[in-house]
């Protein structure tokens, strides 16, 4: 079988397809020099991270002065390994997934120089956690139909409305907010994008419990919350375009990670199969073989997608990856519960808990079965992704829109 590094796309860069000018060895030397000046054992954690950022060793593909050096993204792993080998403190990226995965690229692409300087360092070090205030109870798939209002008041905007499906909101310092600033415009045109201070009296965060019993997400209620115009990202009325940039980053990240063979949901199903010969039947076997093969092909397709991206051929295959990921997670976890036999009827814990992000493992098959149902809803439903593929990839005609007029006149 394959070594799990075989499909690591970073190999491609290192073997010269894109020939970076700074080599991996150069970077290792930089890290060594940095560590010589900042002993991880004696330097304060926050100071260490701030210094690493300032040295351009935070995310090497970011511009100089903003934590990087403008290098290919793939070289980041060299830096991370070197710091890891030195047992240096980390910025706990798992605690700030939205900040690192969505807020940072959005700020980089659409923020002002002042905003980039002000926000990116505390974001990267983890000092400030970010969350995303997009979905609303009445605007899920139809994000552009959202109702949260922001009204200009001097140098500020006053925000009223409700957001939902906000992960990390209870820990976040800032939220990426899309709000309606002009209800007289058609729905896509009256939106504006802000960075909202979550730690103010007008913002209330309530846990939103899901079918697993946990509450990964929150509802966020904004009542006369205030955001300075200086914290607006992009122009007034340009919120839709900025949001799309954020969402593209989200969809590339879902289902787009390099995993070793049997690295995903199939792992525990295959393990259960191997460990319990007494549960094997022809019907279950056929399902397992199909799903194993599909999961492996999906993994290879993911590797191909990353190779395309690395070769500068960004394609729409990211949507395919997410669709396949959602379907396979659901089918595999459904099978896994069945493979568990009598234990499939049990659950581990219904207590309302607040986990740090979604984690399929360390829980029982029933949890995976339930949690996977969210995979075809969160981050763009499978239905919306099919629309996107049909229209943007295949070029099939759009349906006639009935929501073209001013937002305030649309039926809701």
């Amino acid at each position: 079988m394959l070594d799990d590094t075989v499909l690591d796309d970073t190999v491609l860069d290192d073997t010269g397809r894109h020939g970076p000018k700074v080599t991996a060895d150069d970077l290792r030397a930089q890290v060594a020099e940095f560590l010589a000046g900042h002993d991880p054992k004696t330097t304060d954690r926050q100071d260490f991270l701030n210094a690493r950022f300032d040295a351009g060793l935070a995310w090497v593909h970011y511009p100089a002065g903003l934590g990087g050096q403008g290098l290919p993204r793939s070289l980041q792993t060299v830096v991370d390994r070197a710091f890891n080998d030195a047992q240096a403190p980390t910025n706990h990226p798992e605690r700030n997934g939205i900040g690192l995965g969505m807020a940072a690229p959005t700020i980089l692409a659409h923020g002002t120089a002042e905003q980039q300087e002000r926000w990116l360092r505390p974001l990267w070090t983890g000092e400030e956690i970010w969350c995303q205030l997009f979905s609303e109870p009445g605007a899920g798939s139809d994000l552009a139909g959202l109702s949260t209002r922001a009204v200009r008041d001097g140098d500020d905007w006053v925000v009223n409305g409700q957001k939902v499906w906000t992960s990390s909101a209870h820990m976040a310092k800032r939220g990426l907010l899309v709000a309606r600033t002009d209800p007289d415009q058609p729905k896509h045109q009256g939106l504006t994008y802000f960075a909202l201070d979550m730690k103010q009296p007008g913002v209330e965060v309530r846990p939103l419990r899901q079918i697993t019993g946990e509450a990964e997400f929150n509802e966020v209620f904004m009542t006369d919350a205030r955001v300075a115009d200086a914290d607006r990202i992009g122009g007034v009325g340009e919120g839709w375009q900025v949001s799309m940039a954020t969402l593209m980053n989200e969809r590339v990240s879902i289902g787009g990670n390099a995993l070793p063979r049997e690295g995903g949901m199939i792992a525990s199903a295959a393990r259960t199969w191997r460990e319990h010969p007494e549960l094997r039947t022809p019907g279950l076997y056929d399902r397992l073989l199909r799903l194993w093969a599909e999961a492996e092909v999906a993994r290879i397709a993911g590797a191909r997608l990353r190779q395309s991206l690395a070769a500068g051929q960004p394609g729409p295959e990211g949507s395919a990856a997410k669709l396949v990921f959602a379907r396979l997670n659901q089918e595999i976890s459904e099978l896994e519960v069945e493979l568990a036999g009598a234990d499939g009827l049990l659950y581990d814990d219904w207590t309302m808990r607040r986990p740090q992000g979604a984690n399929f493992f360390g829980r029982n098959p029933g949890f995976r079965f339930l949690r996977a149902k969210g995979n075809s809803i969160e981050g763009g439903t499978s239905e919306i992704l099919r629309n996107i593929i049909a229209e943007r990839v295949l070029g099939l005609p759009k349906e006639a829109r009935v929501d073209a007029g001013p937002w305030k006149d649309l039926p809701r």
């Binding site: 139909g145 899901q210 079918i211 459904e334 519960v337 814990d349 149902k373 039926p411």
Partner: protein, 397 residues
Amino acid sequence: MTEHATTPGPAASGKDRSPRSADLLYTETETQLRGAVRAVLDDKAPWRDVLARTESAQTYDDKLWRTLAADVGVAGLLIPESLGGAGASYREVGVVAEEIGRAVAPVPFLGSAVLATTALWASGDTTWLPELASGALTAELAIPFAAGTRTRPVPTVRLDAPEAGDGPGDYRLTGVITGLADALPADLLLVPADSVPYGLYAVRVSSPGVGKRPLTSLDMTRQLCEVRLEQAPARRVASGKQAEDSVAAALLAGAGMLACEQFGLAERCLETTVAYVKERRQFARPVGSFQAIKHRLADLWVAVTQCRAAARYAADWLAAGFGPETTLAVALAKAACSDTALKAAQEMIQLHGGIGFTWEHPAHLYLKRAKADSLALGTADAHRASLDVLANLPGPE
């Protein structure tokens, strides 16, 4: 190639229905019974109450069960009128099961009025039937819910040595049985025990030496439990082949009635989803006006239509007795209804969008019950596997 039901089931005794034509519709009596049960469930088991109860100390709704069992009379449907029951058949029981599936109601109907009643009836021991018919007693067959219908589950309980003072009809049982459905609210357990011969024993839950432990279950609307017997006093209900047949009849009838429950559940999921997509608007249109959604719901409706026929066919054949055609009918129904109920619950969540993924919405109650039902009393896969003999489709090698 005609083989008819050979062993009569409850309420089938005496009727000679062969050669018979399955009646796949609902009779007027059945429709009236459905109305009565639905009225009670609508009134006393709205989903918010059902949801709240899943996190309470009492996951079964005893009060609701008393109303259904005694007032509506669903507990005694299979029991002859001479013993205080309604003298009805699995056709009527199937209709009640459909309604219970529609409401994901936390009552031990399947365990007490189907499994235990069928086992007792088939055992020939009528001692408890009047009390069961009146709803005064609730019973359950002590076999794991995950047991299949095809092979006799291996008992985990053994006959123990008698204690001082035990009479000739007194037995003692020791062992642990886990994963029991509907046993939490049961007063009486029918326990299969290995001895020579294999026997079926009745154990009063209130007796010394009987312990129950609730289990954290995937489906908390039918919470499982573990029963621990330590020198528990028991009475023999049947032994040898009769005990085996009684257990087999109970499991078969249970699987058939569970298929009816799954059909009812699937139908309810479809109805709820259709109603939601008619109301819910996105892109200034009802979500249900999007053709992709319409086609998926049409396909689901087709599947539900197929299930209804299969469930009725199983109920009708069970009503005629136990034989190969009945076994085939149950296998077809349980396979079709397991898959469709799960599909319907999954589509309910997906087509409700985010709201269907939240705790404060009934969808997850349906999903969990559908998944648990699909694992119980023979999976779809296991029932299809029985076609090797039932339909003469031998497997590889």
